[in-house]
Symmetry: C2
Subunit: 198 residues, 2 copies
DNA sequence: GTCTTTCTTGAGTGATCGCTCAAGTATATT
DNA sequence: AATATACTTGAGCGATCACTCAAGAAAGAC
């Protein structure tokens, strides 16, 4: 029941907590909140109920950790993209990246999936997803602002509006990519073309 | 157990089947598949379990009926819009309409919500939603084709591509509209502006 | 080796899930 | 009124849900 309380540890946990959170994130990402049972988690993480609850407290708490990991990984990836290719280059590369990365367990955005599933229930996790979506939008906004400052795009439209529109299109693209028999690459390329002509 | 089998009926059902399906559709639309329990349905439709199963067979079957009603109502609405305002007018009016209609129980598209929730489980209802999304896309495609034939928009891009992009943006718009604190009207207006300059 | 602290185990909790069915009730036909 | 047929009722089914906890196993401290 107590994980890592005292400094001198008689017995260390036999797992890598961070890896477990990543595995849980992948499961939740693909199957959603209600679609992921504790049996699923126990099987994927190879943990018995007791260990699971000692380590994470509850399914809800683990989902929250998974959401935060999802968001912070995404944020870091975009930041890296911006470091290497500039603000506009990052925004242009993102659409194709999110729908073609092979290691991701799903194409659709985990935040939007969570929001759609749980918002109607007033579930705390929906609010968390909502907050993280706002953070994402703010990051987009900052990049558009930099792109304008560096005169890479026109200043005709407010960065805030550009960011909102971009995020909306991106969410739509990622749903389209989740569908079978839809060539989302074409949509992504059009989206990027739209960015180029701003 | 037998509903409407013989012509001469000793006792007619006391409910309006179509209205029940609409009520169920609204519940499923907002709360999703797993998020809607039979207790919820029994309360909303004012039916005891026995009547429910006599009338609809199963929760899954009712959800299927609800999906079909959702899709056919949407299809008819768009057709009416086209009759009154032409193909381009219909496509231009749709975005603002779907995010601002007060009678709809949710902003996001029920088909996309169903797809996102159930696709990973290989659930039959996800396949149904997928089929209906394809039908919707086909309807968009036909309207874009008519708009080109009537020389309302350029023929530079294939109607199929225009339809796919439009549907993708619309799905994104509707998710954005579902969020709190997001002014989706601005996104919708931009989307419509994009259509005007095709 | 002994002790102490912590992690692991898994049978089992009450609650809720979708669903069944035997009994009761209502109505058109005769 | 009697009968036949079909709808309504609601207690309760087995299965699964997220979760608990007492007992056992492992490892650092001494």
């Amino acid at each position: 029941m107590i994980i890592q309380e005292s400094d001198s540890m008689p017995r260390k946990p036999s797992y890598d907590r961070n890896k477990l959170i990543e595995q849980a994130r992948d499961l939740f990402w693909t199957r959603g909140w209600a679609g992921t049972s504790l049996k699923d988690l126990e099987a994927a993480l190879k943990m018995k109920p007791g260990s699971f609850y000692a380590a994470f407290g509850s399914k809800e708490n683990l989902f929250d950790l998974a959401l935060q990991k999802y968001a912070s990984d995404g944020r870091m990836r975009l930041q890296l993209l911006s470091d290497h290719h500039g603000p506009l280059g990052a925004l242009q590369r993102l659409p194709l990246l999110v729908i073609s990365s092979d290691d991701a367990p799903a194409k659709a955005c985990m935040l939007s999936k969570t929001l759609l599933e749980l918002q109607a229930h007033g579930h705390p996790l929906a609010e968390r997803a909502s907050d993280l979506l706002l953070e994402m939008e703010a990051q987009f906004c900052a990049l558009f602002e930099q792109a304008q400052t560096q005169q890479l795009i026109s200043t005709a439209r407010k960065p805030q509006d550009l960011a909102r529109r971009f995020q909306s299109d991106l969410l739509g693209l990622r749903i389209s990519a989740e569908r079978n028999g839809i060539n989302a690459t074409l949509i992504a390329e059009e989206l990027v073309r739209g960015l180029a002509s701003l």
